[in-house]
């Protein structure tokens, strides 16, 4: 590494050549405040429009102040990050941003978790010297995301996520000057766009401009209704992140405390989406093997590769952008929906409660799940299989609101039967996990042999596109993995062009998979948090006795008692779905 010497705040330091002032300062422990800048190192995602101008510093010999986030260091550079000129400029710029920002902090859903608010706190802003007209826009509520763009500070992070990372292209900066803001085309509502509700915009928004639709009150109402049996399911990735909302280290597993908290909240049954994840593997794995074997036998009518379908953001993505390829993904429903379908049939029968009197709540790291559970195809006579989907953040709010001291809770178990799961299910929460779980089961089903080593390191990691060939006892199975929709697009384009040689591909809409979902506690740009969550999931898997979905005794029982066999008729009805062409046709009126 080539290094250069620079002077930061009167300290001579050696830094990497080509480093920005921001990076160099960090190396030597000087914290320069930033607002628009976002750098997810481990994912190689960076947003640096240099637009907010908060990170300005003084560089000797330069006419104006330099934005630290994009200014490269050079040999002998003399930098001052905190003299009076810099501080005055920074505070003035912050006051300007605040002058065009609603001051309803107390009732803002980002209260206490807002980067702008904490900056105002750090800077000790007690008065805004430049009050004036505020730019105001129409608020927009969709099934999953609320846009309150009066609070937009034009950091452009959401735009970058939506376009560069996810390639969904729903958001763009629109208008000019004072009225410029990030919005969908024609400033229409999100539900009139191709939004996948992946929620990555929400995950990076520094203010309250983009937030989730909050269902906590609906859940509280259901819990308070004595005529309802309220059942909760929690997704794998939630347990690896919820602790952060209560001050725990990232990567702390809170499975037991979470179950305890849910029970104290008053849920009648505390179940686990992991159960449904195991069920998904049974269905999806069977489907994979079926397609694979037919393909191997020369049946040209089967489409390969098979793509996973448990991520609702990803489903929305291909329905909008690749509708012509909608026969390629597995028809298996997502674990959330499988859970709902089984709960409101099999389990309802078991406990003798009518589905109308049953409320199924899911706790998800995801915002697209809010939209998914509202899809018509997942309703019976208008009654949805899953009534409410709340995010990890909403669950934290619920716990806080109901005066539960989370950190002091004992570790408890999930209820039976739908609370039991294997290690294969818990890794659903990270990129690579679904396909690893599928491989564990498919290998044994296909070869009839016992899989000795269940850890497939070659499928793990954070690289956006990964591939591996797994030896199915002499049969090489080629696996592809993509997370982030932009990377999914690359694989889809390959398939479309007939260049894809994979048998199976796992796709997760969010970078990192569900651990980086749009409903998770905010990472505020620290991607090491995602890594810690990932590690936690793999450690929970490693600690389990049962690590293959088909070994889950309650799954075996479910098939025996109710479903018959994987991909059987009842499965087809309850656990599989079909996809729609949601591409927009331009209406032409003659």
């Amino acid at each position: 590494m080539e290094t250069i010497k620079i002077n930061i705040d009167n300290k001579i330091v050696e830094v990497e050549k080509g480093a920005t002032i921001l990076k160099a300062a960090k190396q030597v422990g000087v914290h320069i405040p930033t607002l628009c800048h976002l750098h997810l190192h481990d994912l190689n995602i960076e947003n640096k429009p240099a637009g907010c101008r908060i990170c300005v510093v003084e560089v000797a010999g330069r006419r104006n102040l330099a934005p630290a986030c994009v200014t490269e260091c050079y040999e002998g550079m003399v930098i001052n990050t905190n003299n009076i000129k810099v501080l005055n400029a920074r505070k003035t710029v912050l006051e300007l941003i605040l002058s065009d920002h609603p001051s309803d902090c107390l009732i803002c859903s980002k209260n206490g978790n807002c980067e702008l608010q904490s900056m105002a706190q750090d800077f000790g802003v007690r008065e805004i010297h430049y009050e004036g007209e505020k730019s105001t826009y129409r608020a927009d509520t969709s099934p999953a995301i609320i846009r309150d763009v009066d609070k937009c500070i034009m950091c452009r992070r959401c735009e970058m996520m939506c376009n560069d990372v996810q390639t969904v292209g729903v958001l763009s900066a629109v208008n000019r000057g004072f009225m410029s803001v990030v919005a969908p085309a024609f400033e229409r509502n999100l539900d009139h766009s191709e939004c996948t509700y992946c929620g990555q915009c929400v995950a990076v928004c520094p203010t309250g401009a983009l937030t989730e639709v909050d269902h906590t009150n609906a859940v509280i109402r259901a819990l308070a209704d004595p005529s309802k049996t309220v059942i909760v399911q929690t997704a794998p990735a939630v347990r690896a992140a919820l602790g952060e909302e209560f001050g725990m280290e990232p990567g702390t597993l809170v499975t037991g405390k979470m179950a305890a908290a849910l029970r104290r909240l008053g849920f009648n049954y505390v179940f686990d989406t992991d159960f449904a994840a195991d069920l998904t593997i049974m269905e999806e794995g069977t489907e994979l093997l079926d397609r694979l074997n037919r393909h191997l036998q020369g049946d040209t009518s089967v489409a390969l590769p098979i793509l996973t379908s448990c991520c609702p953001g990803w489903v929305n993505f291909f329905e909008h952008q690749f509708p012509e390829m909608r026969d390629i993904p597995s028809t298996a429903r997502s674990p959330q929906q499988m859970f709902g379908a089984i709960t409101k049939t099999y389990f309802a029968d078991k406990i003798g409660v009518k589905r109308e009197n049953m409320v199924v709540v899911s706790v998800m790291p995801c915002l697209a799940k809010k939209y998914e559970c509202q899809r018509d195809e997942f309703k019976t006579n208008g009654n949805p299989d899953v009534d409410f989907s709340i995010s990890t953040r909403e669950l934290a709010h619920l716990i806080k609101q109901l005066n539960i001291s989370f950190n002091e809770l004992p570790e408890e178990d999930f209820d039976h039967p739908l609370g039991e799961s294997t290690g294969a299910a818990v890794i659903f929460g990270t990129t690579g996990g679904v396909i690893e779980a599928a491989v564990r089961t498919a290998y044994e089903l296909q070869t009839g042999k016992k899989l000795e080593k269940v850890d497939f390191e070659e499928l793990r990691g954070m690289d956006f596109i990964r591939e591996a060939t797994i030896d199915f006892d002499g049969l090489p199975i080629r696996i592809g993995i993509a997370h982030g929709l932009g990377n999914a697009r690359k694989l889809l384009e390959e398939i479309k062009a007939g260049r894809s040689e994979y048998h199976a591909i796992e796709i997760m809409a969010c970078p990192g998979g569900c651990i980086g979902g749009g409903g998770q506690p905010l990472h505020h740009g620290d991607s090491s948090i995602l890594k810690a969550r990932q590690k936690a999931l793999y450690s929970e898997d490693a600690g389990k006795t049962l690590r293959k979905s088909h070994e889950n005794p309650y799954i075996i029982e479910l098939y025996k008692e109710f479903l018959g066999k994987p991909c059987g008729e009842l499965s087809h009805h309850l656990l599989h779905t079909h996809y729609f062409d949601k591409s927009v046709e331009v209406s032409v009126v003659e």
């Binding site: 101008r53 104006n64 005055n88 004036g132 007209e133 500070i153 000057g177 004072f178």
Partner: protein, 597 residues
């Protein structure tokens, strides 16, 4: 070939065009034909003569007769009198405003006396739609010389020695820019001509493109040769239809002659030019914004470095110069770096084109050597202030510049002196203001422009300029406080220090320079609630002077809001609470009884 005895040059620039010069040109041609003079007299539509105040212009060669404000109906008289009988049409000659003399030869007009036309050398002299006329004026000779007799390094050396600086605003040395781009290693490079002239009141680039498009094409090809580019792009405002047409014609002609395309002038050098249209965004004059716009994106600037010379259009090294800069290049190659460097001041070489506008007698386009004083420009070339009013200030550099006052009149104009005086060269707009112009309103006008044109990317410009404008608005409405003036200053300095691009960084200049030079006026607006120029409506009152009022009731009858009361033949009074300050009473009063206070 017919040998013409006489040439009638008719200005076909946008200004004159708007005053029916096209019809005039047609009429002249028709009458010449009717009279069978078409083998003797040639009628040519040319680019702008610069003297737009008195357009449309017709210049008769070879006797240099300069006719002003010619209407299509004057065509017959010019031909029958001047062309046939040799008698000049006196009434159409320019009248010296001081001596009231009719001046026939443009050389004797104050407007042209002090001018030195390099960039504008062919404007108003050749037919811009005829490449032959350009070639006859040494056109493409510089390109030919470069391609056949010089290495790119030698050409760059000449450019560097000439001292030519970018004419678009910043004043970066053109030769150095070329050198940096030539040294960037890449499979592809681009030459971009910035013709997105956006300063309100500046129109020299348009005039050059309309009057001498080939000079820009030739220079771009030379630049391409120097930096190793085969593609040229002209980013031109869509609001300049005439310039676009002329440029297209010129490009086609150059291609036909093999002066654009493959293997220029029999050498192995390929170069061609495409047009890209602007769409009404001032910020696209900033080169990174311009490049984004050419890529089909929002014209938002990005941080420099990387400079376009290293990473520009589609991340390829790109050399961006503006029209006027390019127009100087062929002459420099032909006449030499030493010749060019001998004109101008120590650090600003050559000439600069200025667009004179505002309260000045000779509105128009002028080109003077660097180092000419403001006094020469305004009072000699510009013919002084309109209606004999008093000079107050001149705004240079458009919305990025500042005001210069009486005390700067004898400062030689060059890049560095203008910056030192709190303004800047900008693209060369010069708006002259007289005692009727309120400087607070002027600053507000420019901020209104900046607010309108801010791209919105960085917060200081997006919000800061909005706040500056709001505070200025408050002052002009009489609601300002002294703290507001301090706020204006602090905010201005912060915006200068923190804004992302040149537009933002210079946007407070009109505020700061008016505060510096006209502090008293700001104070008056705050403490006395008075606007001495009488421009701030909220701060003025229409008052009836009792002694002068004869009670004719004209004012009361014409007041749209019935704010004036009084008996017939009695003194009238304006109710200030009702008055909307429309000025109707002042206009209607025949006895000078209504005054503004």
């Amino acid at each position: 070939m017919a040998k013409f005895k006489m040439h009638l040059l008719v200005c076909s620039g946008t200004g004159c065009h708007a005053s029916e010069s096209e019809l005039l040109l047609q009429n002249l041609k028709t009458i010449i034909n009717d009279k069978g003079l078409d083998t003797e007299v040639q009628v040519i539509g040319t680019g702008c003569f610069g003297f737009c105040e008195k357009g449309p212009i017709v210049k008769v060669m070879p006797d240099n007769t300069f006719y002003t404000q010619v209407t299509p109906n004057d065509a017959r008289e010019i031909i029958e009198e001047h062309v046939i009988k040799g008698r000049k049409v006196n009434r159409l000659l320019y009248v010296n405003p001081e001596t009231q003399e009719h001046i026939s030869d443009s050389k004797h007009m104050g407007f042209y006396k002090k001018q030195l036309r390099i960039a504008l050398r062919n404007c108003g002299f050749i037919d811009p739609e005829n490449i032959d006329e350009y070639i006859a004026r040494d056109g493409y000779e510089a390109l030919a010389k470069c391609l056949t007799e010089m290495t790119p390094e030698q050409v760059i050396e000449i450019m560097k020695k000439s001292g030519l600086r970018g004419r678009g605003g910043g004043g970066f040395p053109a030769g150095l820019k070329w050198e940096i781009t030539s040294k960037s290693v890449s499979d592809e490079k681009y030459v971009v001509c910035n013709a997105d002239e956006g300063d309100p009141g500046a129109f020299m680039d348009r005039s050059i493109l309309e009057g001498d498009p080939h000079s820009v094409i030739e220079a771009m090809a030379i630049c391409g040769y120097c930096i190793g580019a085969t593609n040229g792009l002209v980013y031109i405002r869509a609001e300049y239809p005439l310039a676009i047409d002329r440029l297209k014609i010129a490009i086609d002609q150059a291609r036909e002659y093999g002066l654009l395309g493959k293997g220029l002038l029999g050498t192995g050098f390929d170069f061609d030019i495409e047009l890209r249209y602007g769409a009404g965004a001032f910020v696209c004059g900033e080169e990174t914004a311009l490049i984004h716009s050419m890529e089909g994106k929002r014209g938002e600037p990005t941080m420099k470095p990387p400079f376009p010379s290293v990473s520009g259009y589609y991340e390829k090294p790109t050399n961006v110069n503006n029209v006027e800069t390019f127009a100087n290049v062929p002459v420099i190659i032909n006449k030499g770096a030493e010749w060019f460097a001998s004109i101008g001041t120590e650090k600003s070489k050559g000439t600069k084109v200025f667009a004179l506008a505002g309260k000045i007698n000779n509105v128009g386009l002028i080109e003077v050597p660097m180092g000419t004083t403001l006094r020469e420009v305004i009072f000699e070339i510009g013919g002084g202030i309109k209606d004999g009013k008093k000079f107050k200030a001149v705004q240079t550099g458009g919305p990025s510049g500042g005001c210069l006052t009486e005390k700067h009149l004898d400062t030689p104009i060059d890049y560095d002196n203008l910056v030192a005086s709190g303004s800047m060269m900008g693209s060369g707009g010069m708006i002259v203001m007289d005692e009727d112009d309120c400087m607070v309103s002027m600053a507000k006008f420019y901020l209104e422009f900046t607010v309108e044109e801010s791209c919105g990317k960085c917060s200081p410009c997006r919000i800061g300029n909005k706040r500056l404008h709001e505070i200025l608005d408050k002052l002009t409405k009489g609601n300002g406080t002294l703290e507001d003036i301090d706020r204006l200053k602090n905010l201005s300095y912060v915006i200068k220090d923190t804004a992302l691009c040149g537009l933002g960084q210079t946007s407070p200049n009109p505020v700061l320079s008016t505060i510096d030079n006209f502090y008293d006026e700001y104070i008056e607006h705050v403490t006395d609630k008075k606007c001495r120029a009488g421009q701030c409506k909220a701060l003025m009152q229409y008052v009836i002077i009792a002694e002068n009022c004869v009670g004719c009731t004209a004012c009361a009858r014409n007041c749209p809001v019935n704010s004036i009361t009084g008996e017939r033949k009695g003194v009238h009074v304006i109710n200030q609470a009702v008055c909307i300050k429309c000025g109707a009473c002042l206009e209607k009063c025949k006895f000078n009884a209504v005054v503004i206070k």
